[in-house]
Symmetry: C2
Subunit: 334 residues, 2 copies
């Protein structure tokens, strides 16, 4: 049955574009079998994460296909990194509308190939389906970690310092630029922000090094405050961050200089895929040394606090110590 005149058959598509992505991983059987096999190295266990992105929701129909592929992959690698795991392999469920042409699939596979090289991972399974709806990409990623050492959301302690990698808010600003809702950041700034939205840079090299330092970690996908709240919820603590310490890119600083209210977007916008983690003050020097060694910016932005009766566990304060009123829920799908 042929549902799209614009594409080769399902098996040809797999043979031409996806099977080559499994080369080098014995348990993928060249994508010629019904399932793959994987085994963690002795003393390790597998860390599993699955996340989907949908055209019109997480990316736009005219986004370059190679960037879409890399974003789909990277949002999963980002979770593995935040958990301290080394990425190894992934499976891909790709649902394509009849309007998809072969060039799109070729560019999509090319994007995956690039990131496979960068992150030393392999495609080991999945399927390709037709859909009457938009392109939908579900990826399941598998990483490896010393048994019992996954960095949890739970685990933060009162008094722990709160750290973030990189700069925060760029992706949310990038989406506003794409929508024509944010101006005044210059052409270079605009492109930088758009790139940050379209292509996350998961902290894959840093994540595994945080094992033994971080008491809790999460990647920032829902938004800084929302993700910190996730840590508070399961660690049963409160948290305070100092808004003026939240690291900003030059483009984000330019935007804030025009409109100070945008700090709310920095704190609540999602999709940065930086790592937010907590660690005792005693290891701050170690954290900063790691930052230097790996050339990954890490900034201390606040502190975990004992639980309190207030409904909202996360407080953001300004330079004068006043609480900022920010909608802290971040991105929700419903």
């Amino acid at each position: 049955l042929s549902l799209s005149k614009r594409l080769p058959g399902e098996f040809e598509l797999i043979a031409r574009y996806f099977a080559p992505l499994s080369a080098g991983f014995a348990g993928a059987f060249g994508l010629t079998d019904d399932a793959a096999v994987i085994s963690p190295t002795a003393g390790h266990e597998l860390v599993l994460k699955s996340d989907a992105i949908v055209c019109g929701v997480h990316f736009q129909v005219d986004d370059p296909a190679d960037l879409v592929a890399r974003k789909a992959l990277r949002v999963n690698l980002s979770d593995l990194a935040a958990k301290g795991a080394e990425p190894r392999a992934y499976m891909l469920d790709l649902a394509l509308p009849g309007t998809t042409d072969e060039a799109w699939v070729a560019a999509f596979a090319h994007g995956l190939a690039e990131d496979q090289k960068r992150y030393q991972i392999h495609l080991i399974g999945g399927d390709t389906d037709s859909t009457p709806g938009p392109i939908t990409i579900a990826i399941s990623a598998f990483g490896e970690i010393d048994a019992g050492r996954m960095i949890r959301r739970a685990g933060a302690r009162a008094g722990d310092k709160i750290f973030v990698t990189g700069t925060i808010g760029d992706a949310a600003f990038g989406l506003r630029v794409l929508r024509g809702e944010l101006r005044g950041v210059g052409a270079t700034g605009a492109q930088f922000l758009i790139d940050r939205y379209r292509l996350p840079q998961p902290r894959v090299s840093l994540g595994p090094k945080l094992v033994g330092l971080a008491t809790a970690a999460i990647d920032i996908s829902d938004g800084l405050l929302a993700d910190l709240r996730h840590i508070c919820d399961v660690s049963e603590l409160c948290a305070r961050i100092e808004a003026q310490r939240v690291p900003l890119s030059e483009a984000a600083r330019t935007a804030l200089a025009v409109k100070r209210d945008l700090i709310a977007l920095v704190l609540s916008g999602g999709d940065d895929y930086e790592i937010l983690f907590t660690a005792p003050a005693s290891v701050t020097a170690g954290v900063m040394q790691l930052s230097k060694n790996l050339d990954v910016p890490i900034t201390e932005i606040g502190e975990m606090l004992p639980p309190s009766a207030q409904e909202e566990p996360v407080e953001a304060i300004d330079a004068a110590g006043r609480a900022l009123q920010v909608e802290s829920e971040g991105w929700r799908h419903f």
Copy 2:
């Protein structure tokens, strides 16, 4: 951000309907973390399979949500079974349109819960997204097998007998009944065929017992001939099946009595989720004993042949030994 007024928020949905499905699997962390951990039992490895189903393609918008959930899960368990693996856990990526109401999600989760009990598996991760398109359900399933013992598609040898479980063609007939294209099977027969289409019965108890007996195996999802062809392709062999030996349900026999041409649909229709496997004649008695012990019908339907120059490696013959002309490609998505 709320994309559907008809559903609770994403986190509430997870807490209410999906987190309970993770209870009993420590590495799922109650779905309160970003990833899960899993480790195969000593001496075992994990078998991984991912498959998606899309509303309007693999199921219909008015199909009961609990059956949709169970079908989404079972098509993956069927692959694990065909590979000889014991199922352990799965991840779920669920994309829902704004028209979805909470009752649908509740029924969907209820269906998962039922099958979790039946197959002794747990939900350990995934995500819930909104989509402007149809309901899309991607499931990644994880099973366990003695290291190195996965039953491959490759591995069949010339002279091996070809076996199938259960009855063949029912699901394809069921779909025709639903479409109003097949009549004359009676109300009971029609319901039986529809049930076979809507709710596969993966051969989970049998699969692991085939390790050491079967030389190659696949579950019948694309169609008997197409799936046998997959085995031929990677085993580099040909195959012949005797159409009159293909096991039929009473309802399918009734349909064939009305219209003999429907044998083509039996041979090429998909979605039966029975296991097709090859085994040397020397173990036939063992296979039949297994069939009896587990109360799973197993029928010998043909034989693997040496490779030949002909383009189509699979031949189906009738009772007189004449080759049947059947489109053998089965279901393709493009």
